[in-house]
Structures are given as C-alpha cells and as structure tokens.
C-alpha cells in the first residue's frame, strides 16, 4: 500500500508545483486535476487496505470526481471570462488584489 501512497504523494507534489508555477490559467487547472487525482488514489487505496468491507473510500472518490468536474466547468468558464476581459489567460496579470 505504501507504494500507492508514495505515488499519490509524488503526484500531489507535482500538481502542487504546477499550481504554483504555471502562468497559464488552464495550466493551473490541469495541475489542480492532478492533485485531485492524487487524492483519489489515496482514497481508493485506503478503501482497499483499511476500509474493511465498506465502500466509503470509493464513494468519496466518486464524489471527488464529480466535484472536480464541476470545478473544472466553472473554472474553465472563469478562464474564458478572464480571457475575454484581459485578452489573455496569464494568471500573473490577474492581480487586481495586489497591495
């Protein structure tokens, strides 16, 4: 099981790196998907090894997938909007909340 967890951790770290570094908003979203997947792997693994006969982990993973889908939908819509307003999707430029 520890391998699965390690895999998830690596995947999560990569996603994290992506989130922090990508300039493109879509890139950020994609990195987020990676992190979701890492979490899902963990859920499913926990379900397999620790969940007894229950299916709670898998169900949670299922919900995560759905939520992720929703998040992607809205996120992408926002990206489109940003694109329309700023003529670009560079997240660095969207910093109107700066000091």
């Amino acid at each position: 099981m520890v391998y699965y967890l390690a895999l998830a951790a690596l995947l999560f770290a990569i996603g994290l790196f992506g989130v922090m570094t990508r300039r493109n908003a879509i890139g950020i979203l994609m990195s987020l998907e990676l992190m979701f997947n890492a979490a899902n792997i963990n859920f499913v693994a926990f379900n397999q090894y620790l969940g007894g006969n229950g299916m709670a982990g898998q169900l949670f993973a299922l919900f995560v997938v759905v939520v992720a889908a929703a998040e992607a939908t809205v996120g992408l819509a926002i990206v489109l909007l940003i694109y329309r307003n700023w003529r670009g999707v560079d997240a660095d430029n969207v910093s109107i909340m700066k000091w």
Binding site: T21, R22, I96, M97
Partner: protein
C-alpha cells in the same frame, strides 16, 4: 303626568338636537319648532302643577336609574314638590315668552337658528336642574346651565366685550362651583349619599357634626353665590348684559340666577340645621342687595340698571331664605321660606317683563343709554305701560304681585333690626332707581331727536309676551294674599299651615317707603324740581364711587387676576428657566464630562490604541509587499509554511537545537522574500497599469 315630568325637560333637548342636526338651515321652522316644544312643555308643566296642587305640594320622587358607582349611589331621578312645580311653571312661562319675543328681536341675525338651539339647550338645563332629585344631578345641570349661559352671553362673539363677558360669567360662576364641588365632596363623605331626602334626613337627624354641617352649608352656598351673582361674585352679571336682550331676560330674570336661590331653597333643611351657616347666607344676601341697589341708583345703561336691580332682588331672596334657616334652626317661626320662594316667582315675571320691555326699547332706539332716550311713551304705548306695571310691581306698590312678596320679606326681617332697616332702605332705593329709569326713558322730552324720530312700537310678536307677563306681574302674587289661609304658604310647606295674618302696619310702612322713592324720582327726573346733576355734584365722591360700581372690577383685576397672571408668567419662566434649566444644566454637565472623557480618550486611550496601530502600520508597510495579488504566490507561501509546520510537527528537526539556524533561515527568507517581491512589484507595476487600462 307627574311621573313623566322628565318629559318637560326632554322636550327642549329634543328641539335643540333637531335644530342642530336637521332644521338649522330653515330658520323659521327652527324657531317655530323650538317655540312649540316649550309651549308644549308649558302645558305639561301646568298639568304637573295642578297635580301637585292637588297633592298639597307633597313631594313625588322617582328614580329611573340608580347605579352604585364605586360605593356611592349615583341617581338619575326626579323630585316633584311644590318648589319644583312652581319653578317648572316659572321657567316654561318665561322661557316661552322669551322665545316668542326672540322671533321678533333676533329677526335678522345671521345665527338665528343657532340662537334658538342655544335657548332650547339652556331651557333643558334649567328644567333638568329644577327636576333633579339629588345633589349630583343638580350639579350636572348646574354646570350645563353655566355652559349654555356662556354660549348665550357671548352669542355675538365678534364683539370683544361680549366674548369677555361670556368668559367672565363662566369663570366667575365656576369659582362659586368650586365651593359647590367641595360641598358635594363633604356631602358625599359625611352623608354617603347625594339624594336630597337622604342628605336632609342625615342633616336633620344630627348625624353630621354641627361644625361640619355649617362648613358644608357654606360651601354649597358658594355655588349659589356664583350662580345668583351674590357678593362677592356678583361682578359677572352686569357684564353679561352684552348678550342679546332676550338672553338677559331669560338668564337674569327667570332661570340661571334663580338657580342659586333655588339651590338654597332646595337645600333649606341643611341651612335650617345650622344657624351660623344660615346667618352667613342672610348677611351675604343683605350686603349684595344693598351694594347692587346703590350701584343701580346712578347707572345710565338701561340693561345694567335692570341687572343691578336683579342682583339686588336676588339678594333679597337669599336674605329671606337665610333668615328663615337661621330662625328655624333656633326654633323660631319664620315666613322667610315663603317670602324667598314667592319673591323668586314674582320677580321672575316682572323682571322678565322689564328686560323684554327694555329690549323692546333698545330695539326701537338702538342704544342702551337712558340719557339718549326720553318721551318714548308717545310712540310705544304697550311697552311703556307694561314696563310701568313691572316697575310698580318691583317697587312694591299695592296690589301688584311684587307688593305681596316684598311684604313677606319685610315680615321676615321683623325680628332682626339691622335686616329690617336694610330691607326698607333697599326698597326705597329700588323704587327710586326703577322710576328714574321709567321717567328718563318714557317721559319728558326726547333728548336725542334722531333716535326718537326713528323709534316705533315693536311688532306684535314682541308685545304680546309683554302683555302676558304684565298680567302675571299683577296677579301672580295674589296667590299669597295674607287673607288666604290655604294659599301659597301652605303649598310650599306641604300643606302645613304656616300663616301669619295680615300685618297692616307693615304693609303701610312698606307702601310709604315705596311711594316716597317713586316721588323722589318723580321730583328729580320728571318735574326736575330737584336737580339730579346738582345732587351728583354735591355728593361727587359717593357718586363716582357708585358709578364705578364700588370699584369691584378694578379691585379684582388688581388683587386676583393680575397676580394670577403674574404667577402664571412666573411659573412659566420658572418652568422654562429653573426646572428645564436644571434638566438642560444636567445635560450640559454631562456633555462637559463627556468632553473631558473625550480628551482623555483622544490623548491617552486613543494614544495607546493609535500607538499600537502605528506600530502595526510600520510592520504592515514591510509586509504588504507580500500581497502580490497573485494567488499562485499565496499558494506557494501556504505550501512553504505547511512544509515548515510539518517539519516541526513531525519533529524532523529538534527545535531546541535547531532554533538559531531556523531563526536565521526565517530572517533570511523574510529579507529575501521582501527583496524578491519588491522586484516583482516593480516588474508588475508596468503590467498592471496596462491591465487596468485594458480592463476599462
């Protein structure tokens, strides 16, 4: 009919309501309706009167509504005995005459209907007052009479003097009512009931301490003093002449002022139980009578002379009643009750006649000043003769009704020398000023030709009532002829024969007095063999003193009204300055205290607060560059911190050993971050400017 006597009172009320709500716009209908109601009332009164005669004046009492109101019985009922029956007759007779007369007198007044409405309301109040069977009810109607008199006196309210007079009448009588209220409170407290019979039984039964009874009697008498214009509250009545003349006739002859006398007569059992109280009453009566008669001697306003004569005659009645109470309390026989009530009745007729006659004169010449009249007898036959009949009657000339009633009064005072002399003096003065009035008005040469030429006899609608009242002025007193053993006297004493045979000496004396008064007036004002002007010149101080009515008005103005207004102003200033000042001062102190606290707050407390704020600001100045506005940077920051926390959490590094190193890393990291973000800031500034532009 007697059990339904209340209908007599309700008829005028009905007429009042009808006029106010329905008939107001139809003037003739209003007056006709009002008159028919009071005539109907007169017919009913007559029936009641005859029935009461049949009962020998025995009281009939019925309550149609009793409620025990918080411990005291409040009744609404009627009491019909001889006094009530007589008063009913008087009020309806004079009321009917006045109303008929008003049709002519008020013909062109813009508020014609309203006048009749007020008259009806007034009649209602007066009849209610007469019919009441307890002190509470009489007080209610008492006040209503006050109100309606106010309305009637200030009927021509555009005239300031009329409005003033109305107010004066109301307030002055109210001062008397004040005493009445206190009297009522004492009655309620000591007798526990308001019902006449109940109170009288208690009073006669000695269940009320004598001192209390005296005080109660005096307080109740206060009400009468106000309403009947007795000294010292007599000042309102002459002023009240500002009202239309029919009003004067109604109010000042037959009804309102009679109410006071009626009250005293009605509560006679109380006065008859307290000699002192009754003596106060009699004394007040005498003083009033004397003062008023003396003022009447020199006045020039025809209505004012009559007004003072009224006050004087009322004083007579009060005096007679008071003496009766006094004598009865001491266990002596007296005819005072007979005299007072009889004079009340006869006076109502001849004084009503006098006022209406005066109204007729005023109607003709449009002035009140007798100096501007003269010789009117040629033009106004009926008015003149009826007026003279009334004057003879009031002067007490045999065999007119005034003679008999005045004779009884004189008889009452026989055992009281002061009163006896006073009475005769007043009788003399009365005869004098009445005939001064007659001679100046109707005889001699016209002094104002313009007015004289204009004068004419009044229309029939005004003269017929005069004739009717003249007849009554002659004959009404015959009921009390001393030769009748079952006449007036036994009637008012409920059949008990209280009768003294004719006292011829007394009759002679009073006739001589009256005739001498008339003769003097004849000499001074008709023959002019004695010059009135010279007399006035000779007794100048007395003349002025009398002419100015003993300076009562001025005295009251100075002693009572001005101080009260001053006190009122003072109180108002006190209220605004002192009390409110205290309040505002408290507020001011509070504000001052707040200011001090504000200063403290600003410099000390806020100083501390602002100081810490300042420190935070400085820190913030450094840290704000962390706010790059880029979420990714925030995410990075979070992750770094999470990692650091995790490092400590899982004790990957021993804090106790590594803290210098960690501090160094943190400090360096902070500096680096700042430097780095400064760079980022500079780089972004250009871009964000563009993005702002693009956004807009």
């Amino acid at each position: 009919m007697t059990p339904y006597a209340y209908i007599i009172a309700l008829l005028p009320l009905f007429s009042f309501l009808m006029i106010v709500f329905f008939l107001r716009w139809k003037e003739q209908v209003s007056s006709l309706f009002s008159i028919s109601m009071i005539v109907l009332g007169w017919v009913l009164s007559l029936i009641v009167f005859i029935e009461t005669l049949g009962r020998n004046g025995a009281p009939y009492e019925s309550y149609f509504y009793i409620t025990s109101f918080a411990g005291i019985n409040f009744e609404l009922g009627i009491l019909v005995d001889s006094l009530t029956a007589i008063m009913l007759m008087v009020v309806t007779t004079v009321g009917a005459c006045v109303q008929i007369y008003s049709v002519g007198y008020m013909k062109d007044d813009p508020r014609y209907s309203r006048f009749f409405a007020y008259l009806s309301l007034f009649t209602f109040s007066m009849l209610g007052l007469v019919l009441a069977n307890n002190f509470f009810m009489i007080f209610i109607f008492w006040e209503l009479v006050g109100l309606t008199s106010y309305l009637l006196i200030s009927f021509w309210f555009e005239k300031k003097s009329a409005a003033d007079a109305g107010k004066k009448a109301f307030i002055t009588t109210r001062i008397g009512d004040l005493g009445f209220i206190v009297g009522l409170m004492m009655i309620a407290f000591y007798a526990g009931t308001f019902n006449y019979q109940g109170v009288f039984a208690k009073a006669a039964g000695g269940q009320i301490p004598a001192g209390i009874l005296t005080v109660t009697a005096i307080f109740v008498f206060c009400g009468a003093v106000g309403k009947s214009a007795q000294f010292p509250l007599h000042v309102w009545l002459p002023d009240a002449m500002e009202g239309p003349t029919p009003v004067s006739a109604l109010i000042h002859a037959a009804t309102m002022v009679a109410a006071g006398v009626y009250l005293v007569a009605r509560s006679m059992p109380i006065f008859a139980s307290t000699a002192d109280g009754a003596m106060v009453v009699a004394t007040i009566g005498l003083i009033t009578s004397f003062i008023a008669a003396s003022i009447g001697l020199v006045q020039n306003d025809i209505k004012r002379i009559l007004a003072y004569s009224t006050v004087s005659q009322l004083g007579y009645m009060i005096m007679a009643l008071g003496l009766f109470g006094h004598d009865t309390a001491l266990g002596e026989e007296s005819v005072g009750y007979t005299a007072g009530t009889l004079h009340l009745m006869t006076h109502a007729f001849f004084k009503g006649l006098l006022f209406l006659g005066a109204g007729s004169v005023i109607h003709a010449v449009h002035t009140n000043d007798i100096q501007d009249m003269g010789g009117l007898s040629n033009k106004m036959k009926i008015t003149t003769w009826t007026f003279i009949i009334a004057s003879l009657s009031i002067a007490g000339i045999f065999p007119l009704s005034g003679f008999w009633s005045k004779d009884e009064i004189v008889a009452t005072t026989l055992h009281h020398p002061v009163f006896f002399i006073g009475t005769l003096t007043i009788a003399f003065m009365t005869a004098f000023y009445m005939f001064r009035l007659c001679f100046l008005t109707f005889f001699g040469k016209p002094r104002d030709h313009h007015r004289y030429d204009h004068a004419h006899e009044s229309p029939n609608v005004m003269t017929y009532p005069l004739v009717l009242l003249a007849v009554l002025s002659i004959f009404a007193g015959w009921w009390a002829l001393p030769w009748l053993s079952h006449g007036y006297s036994s009637f008012v004493h409920f059949g008990e024969v209280k009768h003294e045979g004719p006292n011829y000496a007394l009759m002679l004396i009073s006739t001589i007095v009256a005739v001498s008064g008339i003769t003097l007036a004849y000499l001074m004002y008709y023959r002019r063999s004695i010059s009135a002007e010279k007399a006035a010149e000779r007794f100048k101080p007395i003349y002025t003193f009398l002419y100015n009515k003993w300076y009562f008005d001025e005295l009251y103005q100075k002693v009572i009204i001005d101080p009260i207004m001053k006190i009122a102003d003072f109180m108002w200033n006190f209220d605004a300055r002192v009390i409110d000042g205290a309040v505002n001062g408290t507020a001011w102190l509070t504000v001052l205290w707040s200011d001090i606290k504000l200063w403290f707050d600003v410099w000390i407390v806020d100083g501390a607060v602002n100081g810490s704020g300042w420190i935070i600001r400085q820190l913030g100045g450094a840290l704000r560059y962390l706010q790059t506005g880029s979420m990714q940077f925030y995410a990075l920051f979070i992750v770094v911190l999470v990692v650091l926390i995790a490092v400590f959490k899982f004790e990957l590094v021993r804090i106790d050993r590594a803290w210098p190193f960690l501090t160094l890393v943190l400090a360096l990291g902070f500096v680096a971050l700042r430097f780095y973000s400064r760079l980022a800031a500079e780089r972004n500034d250009g871009q964000s400017g563009i993005s702002q532009e693009e956004k807009s």
